[in-house]
Symmetry: C2
Subunit: 490 residues, 2 copies
Amino acid sequence: GHVLWLPVCCSSPDPGLRESLMLQESSWETGGRLLLTKAELQLSERLHRLKEQEMASADFPPALHFFRAKPLIQRSPIYSLLRAMPKGAALHIHDFSLVGVEWLVRNVTYRPHCYMCFTQDQSVRFLFSSREPKSIPLCSSWVLLTTLRAKTGNTTDFDNSLVSNLTLFTDDPEEAYTSQDAVWKRFEQAFTTAWGLVTYAPVFKDYYYEGLKQLYMDNCMYLELRALLPETYELDGGTHDRSWGLSAYQEVTRQFVSEHPDFLGARVIFTVHRGLNESMVLKAVEEAMNLQKAFPEIMAGFDLVGREDKGRTLWSFREALSLPGKRGVNLPFFFHAGETDEYGTEVDGNLLDALLFNTSRIGHGFALLRHPLVKELSRKRGIAVEVCPISNQVLKLVSDLRNHPATVLMSEGHPLVISSDDPALFGASGLSHDFYEAFVGIGGLNSHIGTLKELAMNSIRYSSLSPELKVKALDIWKKKWDKFISENSR
Amino acid sequence: GHVLWLPVCCSSPDPGLRESLMLQESSWETGGRLLLTKAELQLSERLHRLKEQEMASADFPPALHFFRAKPLIQRSPIYSLLRAMPKGAALHIHDFSLVGVEWLVRNVTYRPHCYMCFTQDQSVRFLFSSREPKSIPLCSSWVLLTTLRAKTGNTTDFDNSLVSNLTLFTDDPEEAYTSQDAVWKRFEQAFTTAWGLVTYAPVFKDYYYEGLKQLYMDNCMYLELRALLPETYELDGGTHDRSWGLSAYQEVTRQFVSEHPDFLGARVIFTVHRGLNESMVLKAVEEAMNLQKAFPEIMAGFDLVGREDKGRTLWSFREALSLPGKRGVNLPFFFHAGETDEYGTEVDGNLLDALLFNTSRIGHGFALLRHPLVKELSRKRGIAVEVCPISNQVLKLVSDLRNHPATVLMSEGHPLVISSDDPALFGASGLSHDFYEAFVGIGGLNSHIGTLKELAMNSIRYSSLSPELKVKALDIWKKKWDKFISENSR
Ligand SMILES: [Zn+2]
Ligand SMILES: [Zn+2]
């Protein structure tokens, strides 16, 4: 228990008592109990000074929408340090928002046989095909991109317009996205646009390889990917099923790891949309169990995705979610829950239900503070919250990131990790932008090198890796960390 | 301790256990343990249905800036009910933002001998005087308002321009106030504009009487007023000191209570600006002790006001604040603390220091969640937080009130009261607008009639009234409450 004794009243407060209460409170924070080396403390001092400078500026990046903050963050020396920092694992990223869209446009859309059509709502669709495909509803007839680009005077402009079709970025986000409905509509549109590119089987593999590479470049060393495992297709119209996708992930991961021995690999959390009906989710859970049996190395578990406020509740899928338990199969769950600001609704019950269904982690948990009992349960059981600051801001749960609920989770030392959810759609790269928001905005002047160290270690601790692999991962990470510290502490 | 047992894993979660966990969590909320009558439950049902309707609307008022939300709130049947509801005491309102500015313009500026001048920064100043006053720096020469109005074709437009000089209201608050600096500048400007009107001795009394009347009309029954007790003046330039102001408050309060026996009265928390230096605050604390000795009935205690982020810290005034204790005098403190989003700064230490100096309540405590140790201390000692939602929104600590930290305090049943800080400057009236935001936005679908009942009772429980007067107050309140329930439960 906490020692909370205070003399009641009178005369001057004892500065020693004050000091000890402040230290006690600091010790509760994420990273507050780590013993730090002299070199770590030196770097921490430097980060503190840099943070004071950024807080003093009129445009404090975490108070701004990420689309406005990004250019400022790019120039921030704190950001450079965070990019160089070994951040451990990325535990909450979705399959088709893993790779910066520049790569999709500059690389994938330049490949042969790439067709495009224009939808009635100002968007586009892509398809690879060995001959001109049949046209699809609400879209123009298909045109080869090589043909289009040949006709276009300015391919730079053309390519930029493709980029903007594939992300949510806009110069005036407050004007463009006036409500959660508006921004989620755009989110789903951009996602659909990418679909035809990323489900083309050869691109599917290359995309994933490129994603691992970008994470590696961002100094992350392991990934747990929320993946829809969609049907993929070939030029001749032939298709592949989920197993193909999963073994593609496995094969590419192995290859990448063999080329980058300090990268630990990746596992997959199979996800389906929460808009599905009960029998479809039941089927998906059955399939998840089969996939897990067939691919125990790479399959980590199961989750439901899509906008929580508009989807079915976890409780409504209780039949399906109880299936593994009933069959005596251990299928780990990694539920998105509490990604809502509608306090007291049915959907707001997802947080408790995620724990009742024995979730391994909580995706977002934005509403967790408003459920003190669930919060206490998740803390006691060591169920980490996957905090994705930029996602919550762009999807309009919170505007000023200093008000993000993770400020409180961090000050209480709640188990948590930082992730980036859909970095490509938001224009963020890897984990570094989200680490910046977490360290500078959410942590404020209170977060320090110990916070960063614990967040990185948490990402391994709360991963789905086996105890043996966790030891190995921490070992690799520690060497990188020590190098990072020694290179930046002077 | 809380019972937090959960079977680990497997098979279906027990619906009975789920239900009991949900009930347990509900019992922690503000008002969650009150036993409610059938009639109360009926009204609660009705409020719940109304709330669902308002949450379903595209423009959910608590998500909008109050200036945009106000017209929607005025039309809300929930608001009508909250206006009619006996809300108990207003424990955090400042002296010169007590009365809707319409009254200042339509009544006070129409009194004889009222002069006005125009400042270089588009504002105005007022002064009552029996002859033309000497001009003041950076302001035009003084003109009688009767003369000005005679010259003006459209006195309605003219009066509206005066109104807008006296409030922060604007059609496009996001555009007008792009930063906390900008909105605080305007705040201080509007406050300064009112100064010459409200410190004219006859107006000083009438203003206060009108303030009590407006609170009474809003179904509040007691006030604790944060008051600067400034020098007041007469037509001939003669002035009155603090004692005069305090006895004026006492006299007017007595008169008002004699005319409205179901109104309990008011007490004064003497405040000075936190921009003052140490020796000035020391003098102010001495004066507070003297005033308390001379006016024990109406003097409740002492506080520091002004923007916390830009003012000196409580700790920097420790000499002054320790004085009463050292002298063995019990001068209660009611400190503003934690009205900041700059986490980890010196100013952010005010919350702990407020408790170390034995504060009776915490004004705002916006940053309290980020200080779990201070939060626990304040809870254990029963130090209530004065939550002022609209103030925090207009002064740009939070935009969407569903993210206000009081959501968490309410879900944890932390001691708190709802107040309105500077209602006149924000265009709010009494407590009802803030109760609307607290009940609909902060409480979400989880708040119910029990929440409202406990909030109202809290305002008496955590007041500075003597135990005997609290009993009396609760008695009067209970009769009003029962009447309110029986009139609105069908
Ligand atoms: Zn997600
Ligand atoms: Zn105040």
